[in-house]
Amino acid sequence: LELLADEVDGITVVTIRGRVDSTTSPALEERLLGALQSPDARLVADMSGVEYLSSAGLRVMLVAMQQARKAGARLVLHGLTSRVREVFEISGFISILPVCASREEALAKMAS
């Protein structure tokens, strides 16, 4: 799993690449939760490089969303590959997590 962080107009963009499973999800959880501690935190998770997402990865996304709500921060996902989108749809998470179609849409949503 490769995690790259970037700042765009005060918005943190975390690019996730590789497999998110029970082995790699703790690292992702640590990174996302670390970026969602303050009330003004704004985080965009770019998932276009995610090759596979298991239930452990889904749980990280759920925990990150709960942390964002708890801290008053904001979290948006984008770049879901067809395989990851299928996982979101099967699990029903597609209706729970904030998912944008593109990076531009995600950044615009954060800026608004």
Partner: protein
């Protein structure tokens, strides 16, 4: 895909239909036979032919062929059908005899051997043997292995019945298509019996293993771990195998079915079982290193059968958790995401011996699994209503049930009455006797 109900019905109905048509054509081809035909004689002749065909199908089922297993939706269901076919064949034989009474007017020649012609004697011996062996199937107190040892000779009354059928009626001998058709069934049944009785042990799908470990999980539940000595068996989670322990004191050399509870990616096989009889109790004391022959894999209770469904409800009753343990173990590596609700129904807390293992496996599973341990002494008997109340709407889910037969059938009925199509409900039923 799962076997179609139409195919299941056709696999029995078609041979009987062809038999009826050919028998009818044999009458049309022989004016004398047609004139001599009475309703009673028709029942006797058709009943006899049906009995031979059904017995042949029953013997074909015992070969544990993958093709036949596929048609009937699993070996458990195939063997239930085998038993049902035996019952029907027995009823047809009785009908055959009763219908012949007006014709012969001498009941004694029909049922007492050596009181009439040789082919009648062959027929009456077949009836007695078939009745004796068939009735034993209903005698539950008979030790399993004794019953198996006797039941395996069922091929002899079948062959005698076939000889009787060919010798007794001019319908078969006098009409080539019917003769060929019945010869096919006689040969198929005979070859199936010879293969299963004399050849299967050496030529069947056998793998050699040794006992690596036996673990007492508590509550009379055991894990048997086997290590391959040569080629390992490949199997799908949810399947089962017959195992036979060799040269082990207290364990007769006989085959018993057990479900895998291990992941197929592991080299070792793990079988989990509850000690409910003499054999399974003795198996808990088997020595490490004992040789074991494993025949299989068998069964259709696999995720592959429900491949089009990405959302599933798994319901296990007691030791019925075994196939789900195998599926859960495989979940850590299969990269095949599903949404799953797993219900582990047990009577009391101490019966939930796999609770900790399940919790560990759920956390590392690829699929998103919601796990519910259902202790019926606290929450009441598990039911479709209670499950749906827990899960919320599951209209697009498929349901897999493994547990005691009564529980599995009751749950299936409840789900069907709640509007679930039967094709979306799969249940495992181990009854080989």
């Amino acid at each position: 895909m799962r076997s179609s109900p139409v195919v299941k019905i056709l696999a029995i109905a078609l041979p009987l239909l062809v038999t009826t048509i050919l028998w009818g054509m044999s009458k049309l081809a022989d004016e004398t036979a047609m004139l001599a035909l009475s309703p009673a004689l028709a029942i006797a002749q058709v009943g006899g032919l049906y009995a031979v065909v059904l017995m042949a199908i029953g013997l074909l089922i015992t070969t544990r062929s993958t093709l036949i297993e596929g048609i009937y939706g699993g070996l458990d269901k195939s063997f239930r059908l085998h038993r049902r076919l035996g019952e029907i064949a027995l009823a047809l034989i009785v009908a055959h005899l009763v219908a012949l009474i007006p014709e012969t007017r001498k009941l004694i020649t029909l049922i007492v051997p050596f009181t009439a012609s040789w082919w009648k004697t062959v027929g009456s011996i077949a009836v007695w043997l078939f009745t004796f062996v068939g009735v034993l199937a209903f005698w539950k107190r008979l030790p399993y292995q004794t019953w198996v040892s006797i039941h395996k000779w069922m091929g002899i009354p079948f062959l005698l019945a076939a000889v009787h059928a060919f010798a007794a009626t001019s319908d078969i001998l006098g009409y080539e298509p019917l003769r060929t058709w019945m010869l096919l069934w006689a040969v198929a049944g005979g070859v199936a019996w010879i293969y299963r009785t004399f050849i299967y042990g050496a030529a069947g799908p056998r793998f050699d293993y040794v006992v690596d470990d036996v673990t007492d999980r508590g509550n009379a539940t055991w894990d048997l771990l086997l290590r391959p000595t040569t080629t390992r068996m490949n199997y799908e989670p949810g399947k089962f195998a017959f195992i036979s322990v060799k040269n082990s004191p207290g364990l007769p050399d006989e085959q018993h079915p057990f479900s895998f509870s291990s992941s197929p990616v592991r080299r070792e096989l793990r079988f989990s079982y509850k000690a409910v009889g003499d054999y399974t109790t003795a198996l808990g004391r088997v020595a490490k290193g004992s040789q074991v022959e494993v025949y299989g894999p068998f069964g259709q209770f696999t995720l592959h059968q429900l491949g089009e469904f990405r959302r599933l409800v798994w319901i296990a009753g007691g030791i019925g958790i075994t196939p789900f343990l195998s599926m859960l173990a495989f979940e850590a590596t299969n990269d095949d995401f599903r949404k799953i609700w797993l219900f582990y129904a047990v009577k009391s807390e101490d019966e939930a011996v796999y609770d900790a293992e399940i919790q560990q496996q759920v956390s590392s599973a690829d699929s998103y699994i919601d796990y519910v341990k259902w202790v019926s002494s606290e929450r009441g008997t598990i039911s479709a209503d209670a499950i749906i109340e827990t899960t919320g709407p599951i209209d697009d889910y498929a349901i897999m049930i493994c547990g005691p037969t009564a529980m599995a059938r009751t749950l299936k009925k409840q789900f069907v009455s709640r509007g679930f199509h039967p094709s979306r409900i799969m249940y495992e039923d181990f009854s080989f006797r």
